[in-house]
Symmetry: C2
Amino acid sequence: MKTINLTTQRQAVYDVVREAEDHPTAADVMNRLVERGHSFAYGTVYNSLRYLTEKEMIRELKLGEAASRYDARTDDHQHIVCEICGKVGEVMTPMPEEWMTRVAEETGYEVHEAHIVVEGVCAECRTKRKK
Amino acid sequence: MKTINLTTQRQAVYDVVREAEDHPTAADVMNRLVERGHSFAYGTVYNSLRYLTEKEMIRELKLGEAASRYDARTDDHQHIVCEICGKVGEVMTPMPEEWMTRVAEETGYEVHEAHIVVEGVCAECRTKRKK
DNA sequence: AATAGATTTATACTTATTCTAAATTGAAAT
DNA sequence: ATTTCAATTTAGAATAAGTATAAATCTATT
């Protein structure tokens, strides 16, 4: 049930996401594949990203922009976006378990996970702003 | 600077959102306007929703679906989505200040706010599932 | 080598939203 | 009351992200 079939295309898409320093969108991934000499169909990139997400080799991030971003870190963490330059950072500080429990009590839902997007201003933009 | 110009259209859009029991999308708002006998241009509904959001009379919610939803509650709160039926509930339990502070320390960002979407299963769907 | 299932490709389509240019409205000045 | 000007609305075109489709290709197994 967890057999993974990594075709050339899927492997190449995975490599791009894994080696990215940022959180690329599907379009970013497409561009980087071209830079590396590949030329896959647009749909194949989307299919591969979906496949890799389903196999939990990467994560799909919805940070409130139009396009999803992808992240090769699959351990539990959240994200922070700079309101000025858009830079996305990782947030490793875990959500207190107690908050989740309280939310379950409050809402009557069985709580599975929380997706958090923090907004703020990154160090660089803060420095620039001071001038 | 905070003069608010509520045209007929904007007022009608505001009324729909304010009187909604759920969190309507732009398309939902459009439909409800028609039910009430209005027939505004599609673009006007989007413009009005944007205007009302800018004036902070409503909030735009990005819950990870394709379409934004709108909420007339502008006080600080979060949302929880049922993975099965999609029902959206309000989460009033506040995120501990301490978590925000820790995130600021960790990331070096100046933290403004956190958008949280909790995923889980609502009471109704849980009951149905048991059978 | 033949077959079948999975995958890729190219392209068409869908959905949500924004843009544009012309028409309309409404308030202020004559 | 009429002119004027900016803001707004309208209808429809345009865009962006992603999905669907059908034919072609690849890959593993007989």
